[in-house]
C-alpha cells in the first residue's frame, strides 16, 4: 500500500485510527482513573471523527447521524456518567498501578502484531486499506479485553469494555461504511443501557463489598474447601 497514492481523507483516516490505537495503550497504562476516563472520551471523539470522515469520503449520509450519535454517547454522555460516578464513589483520586506495566504493554504490542498477522491472508490486495483498518480495530478490541484482564478496578474494567466497543465501532464504520441503521440504533441503545446498569452495579458493589476491587469478588468459586 502506497500511502502517497491515497486520497487525503483516507490518509486522515489512517492518522485518526492510529491515534485511537495509541489511546488504547494510554488507557491500558493510565494509573489515574480520571485521566483514563478522559482518554476514553478522546477515543470516543476520535471514533466519531473517523465516522464523519468516512461519511464524507463515501457520501454515506446516515453515517453523519451515527457520527453524531457516537460523539454524543461515547465522547460526552458515557464519560460524563463515569465522571459523575467516580465523584459519587469518591474515586477521583483513585490510582491503580498495574503489577508489571512493561510486560502488559509488551503483551498489548504483541496483540497488535498478532492482529495484523491475522488479517494478512484475509483480503485481496486491492483492499489493503480496509484490511489495515480492521487490524487496528481488532487490536483495539483485544487491548480492551487485555485491559479488563489486568485492571482490578471495576470502573477501569468498564472502561476496557467500552474501549472494546470503540474498537468495534471503528471496524464497523471504517471497513463497512457503517451497519444498517436499525442495528446501529440498537447497538447504541444497548451500550447506553449497559452503561446505566454498570452505574447501578457500581453502587451495588460498593454496598455489598465496600470496594470496587473486582479481585474481592471471590465468594462464588468451586475451589477451596472440600465439597464433601
Amino acid at each position: 500500500m502506497n500511502l502517497t497514492l491515497l486520497p487525503l481523507l483516507q490518509q486522515l483516516l489512517l492518522v485518526l485510527a492510529a491515534i485511537v490505537l495509541f489511546l488504547s495503550f494510554v488507557l491500558l497504562a493510565q494509573v489515574r482513573l480520571i485521566s483514563a476516563i478522559h482518554a476514553f472520551a478522546w477515543q470516543g471523539a476520535l471514533v466519531a471523527a473517523v465516522t464523519a470522515v468516512v461519511a464524507a469520503t463515501g457520501q454515506v449520509h446516515h453515517l453523519y447521524f451515527s457520527a453524531a450519535l457516537t460523539l454524543a454517547l461515547k465522547a460526552l454522555l458515557i464519560p460524563w456518567m463515569l465522571h459523575r460516578l467516580t465523584r459519587r464513589l469518591n474515586l477521583e483520586r483513585h490510582t491503580e498501578s498495574l503489577q508489571s506495566p512493561a510486560l502488559v504493554t509488551m503483551g498489548a504490542v504483541a496483540l497488535v502484531i498478532f492482529s495484523y498477522w491475522l488479517v494478512l491472508p484475509m483480503i485481496h490486495a486491492e483492499m489493503t486499506f480496509t484490511r489495515n483498518i480492521i487490524a487496528i480495530s481488532l487490536s483495539v478490541v483485544l487491548i480492551g479485553l487485555l485491559m479488563m484482564v489486568f485492571r482490578t478496578q471495576a470502573v477501569a474494567q468498564v472502561l476496557g469494555f467500552m474501549s472494546m466497543e470503540n474498537g468495534l465501532f471503528l471496524a464497523a464504520v471504517s471497513a463497512t461504511d457503517g451497519m444498517p441503521l436499525v442495528v446501529e440504533l440498537g447497538v447504541a441503545f444497548d451500550v447506553l443501557v449497559a452503561m446505566v446498569l454498570f452505574g447501578v452495579f457500581f453502587l451495588q458493589l460498593r454496598d455489598s463489598i465496600d470496594s470496587l476491587d473486582v479481585d474481592r469478588l471471590n465468594r462464588l468459586r468451586e475451589t477451596g474447601g472440600d465439597s464433601q
Binding site: M164, D177, V183, D190, A194, F201, Q204, R219, L220
Partner: protein, 502 residues
C-alpha cells in the same frame, strides 16, 4: 404477520405494563396472562409455518423503507424454539407466581423489586423471541445483548453480596463475549458487502445464506471465531462458562429455569445459524469442516469438564447449571458433527433438555423452599417430607441423566448413533463423559431425596403442575415422537444440513 406481532408485542407491552402494576398478586396473574397470550401467538405462528413452510416479512417497512426495516423469518428451525420458549415461559410463570409471593413474604425482596422482576421477566421473553424470529444478524445481536441486560438485574435481585457478585461476573463476561460476537457480525457484514449489492441487506440472514458460497472464506473464518467465542460464552461453552453457574445459582429460581431452559438454546441457535453461513462459505476451501470441528471441540470439552464439575458441588442450583453446560456441550458437539442424524438428535435434545431442565429447576425451587437453603449438605429426605417434590426431583434427574423412557434418552441415542457412524472414537469420550456426569449428579441427588429428613422439616405449598406437564411431555417424547414434530424437526434438519433424515 399477525401471529408474529402477537408473539413479539405481547411480552414487550406486557413488560412495560408490568412495570406499572403495583400489587404483586395482580402482577403475578398478569404475568401469567401475558405469557399465555404469547404462547397462543406462538402456537398460531407454528400452525402458520406448518401450513406455509416459512413465514417471513419486514416489520416497519413503511417507516424505514423495505430494506431497512426489521426483517423476520420464521422457518421450521426457529419456530419450534419459539413455541418452546413461549411454552416454558408459561409454565415457569405458573411456578413463579406462588414462588415469588413466598419470596416476597419472607422479605427477601420488596414490592418495588417485584415490579422489576415481572417487568424484566417479560422483557427477557421478548428479547429471546426477537432473537429467534429476526432475520437480521445485527438485530439478533441486539436482542441477545438485550437478554443479558434484562436478566442481569434479575440475577442481582436479592442484593446479597453473592448475588451482586454473580451479576457482575455475568454482566462482564457476557458483555465481553457479546462484544466479540458483534465484531464477528461486523466482519460478516464486511464479507457480505463484497458480494451483496444492497448494503442494507448485508446482515439479512436469508440473503447471506443464499449467497454464502461467495463470502470471502478468510473473513468468514475469522468472523466465525469471534462469533463462536462470543455467542459461545452465552451458550456456556468451557472455558467461557464461568458466569453460568454463578448467575443460575444466585438469581431467583424461576429465572434459573428460563436461563437454563431457554437462553442457552437461543445462543446455541445463533451459533448454528452462523455455522450454516460459514459452512457455505468454506465449502470450497481446504478445510470445509472447520466450523464443525471447532464446535465439536468446544462441545466435547464442555461436556467432559462440566461432568467433572458435577462431582464437587455444594449448591444444588449450581450443580444443575453445570448439568446445563454439559448438555449444551453435547448439543454443540452434535451440531458440529453435522449430518442429518446428529442434527436431528441435537434439535430434539434442545427440546427435551429445555423441558426437563426447567422442570428440574422448578422442583429445585420447591426443594430449597422446603429445606430453607440451597446447600446440598443440608437438603435431606425430600421424599419423606414431601413425596411429590422428592419424586419429581429424582425422576427429573433420571430423565436428564438419559434414562429411558424419557426423551433425553431418545436424543442421546441418536447422538451416540450418529457419532458412532461418523466419528467412532469420540463415542468413547462421550460415553465416559455420560458416566462421569451421571455419577456426579446421582451422588448428590441420593442423599437429598432419600433418607431421613432433619427435624422440623415441613412440606410447603407447591404447585407441581408445571413439573408434571414437562415431565409427561418428555416421557411422551421418549416413547414416541409425534408425526408432526418429527416432520418439523426433519424440515429443520433439512434446512441446517441440506438433507432429510426421514
Amino acid at each position: 404477520m399477525t401471529p408474529l406481532l402477537l408473539v413479539l408485542l405481547t411480552p414487550l407491552l406486557g413488560a412495560l405494563a408490568l412495570g406499572l402494576v403495583r400489587r404483586p398478586v395482580v402482577a403475578g396473574w398478569f404475568n401469567l396472562g401475558v405469557s399465555v397470550i404469547s404462547l397462543g401467538g406462538a402456537l398460531w405462528l407454528g400452525a402458520a409455518v406448518a401450513v406455509t413452510g416459512e413465514v417471513s416479512g419486514t416489520l416497519g417497512a413503511q417507516l424505514f423503507g423495505p430494506s431497512a426495516g426489521l426483517g423476520f423469518r420464521v422457518d421450521a428451525f426457529n419456530v419450534y424454539l419459539v413455541v418452546l420458549t413461549a411454552f416454558v415461559g408459561v409454565t415457569t410463570s405458573i411456578f413463579s407466581r406462588p414462588y415469588m409471593r413466598y419470596v416476597l413474604e419472607i422479605g427477601r425482596i420488596g414490592p418495588r423489586r417485584m415490579r422489576t422482576y415481572h417487568s424484566m421477566y417479560q422483557l427477557f421473553m421478548f428479547t429471546m423471541l426477537l432473537a429467534l424470529t429476526t432475520d437480521n444478524l445485527g438485530v439478533m445481536w441486539v436482542a441477545v445483548e438485550g437478554a443479558t441486560l434484562a436478566t442481569v438485574l434479575l440475577v442481582s435481585l436479592y442484593r446479597t453480596p453473592e448475588a451482586v457478585e454473580a451479576a457482575w461476573k455475568y454482566f462482564i463476561l457476557c458483555g465481553v463475549g457479546i462484544a466479540l460476537a458483534l465484531f464477528g457480525t461486523v466482519l460478516t457484514y464486511f464479507a457480505a458487502q463484497q458480494v451483496i449489492a444492497d448494503p442494507a441487506a448485508g446482515l439479512t440472514w436469508s440473503t447471506l445464506y443464499a449467497n454464502a458460497g461467495g463470502l470471502e472464506p478468510a473473513v468468514m473464518r475469522l468472523a466465525f471465531v469471534f462469533l463462536l467465542v462470543g455467542y459461545g460464552t452465552k451458550v456456556g461453552l468451557v472455558p467461557m462458562h464461568q458466569w453460568l453457574p454463578d448467575a443460575h445459582s444466585e438469581g431467583p429460581t424461576p429465572m434459573s429455569a428460563v436461563l437454563s431452559g431457554l437462553l442457552l438454546n437461543v445462543a446455541l441457535y445463533a451459533v448454528v445459524r452462523l455455522k450454516m453461513l460459514v459452512d457455505g462459505s468454506l465449502a470450497e476451501t481446504a478445510s470445509p469442516q472447520l466450523a464443525g470441528h471447532l464446535l465439536m471441540g468446544f462441545g466435547l470439552v464442555s461436556f467432559l469438564v462440566a461432568g467433572l464439575f458435577l462431582h464437587r458441588q455444594r449448591d444444588i442450583k449450581r450443580m444443575f447449571s453445570y448439568s446445563s453446560i454439559e448438555h449444551m456441550g453435547l448439543m454443540t458437539f452434535a451440531f458440529g458433527l453435522g449430518g442429518p442424524l446428529a442434527t436431528f438428535g441435537a434439535l430434539l435434545h434442545m427440546l427435551v433438555h429445555s423441558l426437563t431442565k426447567s422442570a428440574i429447576f422448578i422442583t429445585v425451587g420447591h426443594a430449597t423452599h422446603i429445606a430453607g437453603t440451597q446447600s446440598i449438605d443440608q437438603i435431606r429426605g425430600l421424599i419423606r417430607t414431601q413425596p411429590a417434590v422428592g419424586w419429581s426431583l429424582l425422576i427429573g434427574v433420571a430423565a436428564i441423566a438419559g434414562f429411558p423412557p424419557f426423551g433425553v434418552f431418545m436424543s442421546e441415542f441418536l447422538l451416540l448413533t450418529a457419532t458412532m457412524k461418523s466419528a467412532p472414537w469420540f463415542t468413547l469420550a462421550l460415553l465416559s463423559g455420560l458416566a462421569v456426569a451421571f455419577a456426579g449428579l446421582f451422588r448428590h441427588i441420593h442423599p437429598m431425596v432419600y433418607g431421613v429428613p432433619p427435624e422440623g422439616q415441613q412440606p410447603v405449598e407447591a404447585n407441581m403442575i408445571p413439573v408434571a406437564v414437562h415431565l409427561s411431555l418428555v416421557l411422551w417424547l421418549g416413547l414416541a415422537i409425534p408425526g408432526f414434530l418429527a416432520g418439523w424437526l426433519d424440515r429443520a434438519t433439512l434446512l441446517i444440513t441440506g438433507a432429510h433424515l426421514l
